[in-house]
């Protein structure tokens, strides 16, 4: 299995503190040593870093931890391979363009028989179930909405429906973004927390580092983090149940479909 970490914020926000917790799980405090990746949005495009090396020993991961790349939407993933060998082609997040925006996707789980589904427009570059499922979703979204739907609720409903369909094939916890929303579906483990005024402090479980958010954020800032397992202590992480689907935008949840 793998671990996921995502962020949605209403202002470009530094992800370093959060990433330094996840990074440790890629071979040190966790067993996910089969590569890692991160996509940080800037407008409709994203900066992505992919590395088949463990994140704890990766020079690129060190750079991201140090270098404060600010972003409003982030998706990151550390991999413990089950299907598909360890190589760049199989490293999440996967990226495709639709409606002139970069869409990114990272997945935790296994899907039995996903590769029997027909693909039309998008095709996987690597051999994972995950990328195949992403291409299948993108195909379906593209056919259902040749142009972006006017009401964002329509898109949320449709992605929720797709998530439920695919999750019948196995474990399908994922983070997906279209550059505006962060869509999250929980098959097994997932939790989220919103940091907002009045800000408190938190302690990273994996490193012990303490961060006082009062010094870091302005009163209007709103930042939601979503992760396979809570990253911090002293914060109110909300557990999702199997089958829960939540959509975040500008740092807060805007759509929820419970199991």
């Amino acid at each position: 299995m793998c671990e996921l970490l995502g962020m949605s914020a209403n202002v470009p926000t530094d992800f370093c503190f959060n990433f330094s917790g996840l990074k440790e799980r890629g071979g040190k405090t966790g067993p996910h040593r089969d590569g890692w990746g991160i996509s940080l949005y800037d407008g409709r495009a994203c900066r992505s870093f992919h590395d088949p090396e463990p994140s704890t020993t990766s020079e690129i991961a060190d750079l991201i931890e140090r270098h404060a790349i600010r972003s409003r939407i982030v998706i990151s993933h550390i991999r413990q391979a089950n299907r598909g060998k360890v190589c760049l082609e199989n490293t999440h997040p996967f990226i495709r363009e639709l409606w002139g925006s970069s869409w990114t996707f990272a997945h935790n789980g296994q899907l039995k028989g996903i590769k029997k589904k027909t693909l039309r427009f998008y095709h996987p570059v690597g051999t994972t179930d995950s990328e195949y499922a992403f291409c299948y979703m993108m195909d379906k979204i593209r056919r259902r909405f040749p142009k972006p739907p006017e009401k964002q609720k329509e898109l949320c409903c449709y992605i929720n429906r797709l998530a439920r369909e695919i999750s019948k094939l196995g474990v399908f916890s994922f983070l997906l973004s279209d550059s505006r929303h962060l869509f999250a579906y929980c098959s097994n483990q997932m939790s989220w927390v919103t940091r907002q005024y009045p800000f408190g402090e938190a302690r990273l479980i994996d490193t012990g580092e303490i961060m006082n958010f009062r010094e870091k954020f302005s009163p209007k800032d709103k930042v939601t983090l979503i992760a396979s397992y809570p990253l911090t202590e002293k914060e109110n992480w909300q557990s999702m149940k199997s089958g829960d689907f939540v959509v975040f935008k500008n740092g807060r949840s805007i759509y929820t479909a419970l199991a």
Copy 2:
């Protein structure tokens, strides 16, 4: 205008020496300070780094210069913006998937009226002429070849034809890769050099650094570099003429269509 640098090799090859020359031109020995990007292939996928900062002062560029990421195909670009503002969305190389491979594209020039052409499948994320032209080419290739053509010559001929069509709109020097070939079209300035046995040495024009390739390569290695302007002295760079199209594979030219 911008500068392009590409590589095709028959073995995964360290790009650091070459990149350190190009990097200097992004704000120090050259005026191209409006961002830079690089795509390094590994199989059918590529690792890409994009930064709207000047390459001479970019931490990510420093990392690539130090960190020997080996690759058989590389496309890199430093930008001096003419159309399209300086931002991540407008930073080359641009990437799209076709036939289950990542295609990458970087361009030097301006194209008048390219945005009047209709796009069907691929749409630009940013606002540059360059990404629009790339989407147009990808659309045409996809429609002409729903599956990869059996003979690579067919693909080379078709891309040559497209390049000639689009170059009527202005300056269209580009590097394009489908993960196997490196396609290069010269509208104004472009030169290439093949490093092969017996290897010699070269001096980087921009830094003065000298590299002895005898110590670096094995006798069977073959590496072709292609750049807007020669990167080194003491090497036999071949100038391309306006309208020349060359395709490289495994470090050597396999198809040429002269103006």
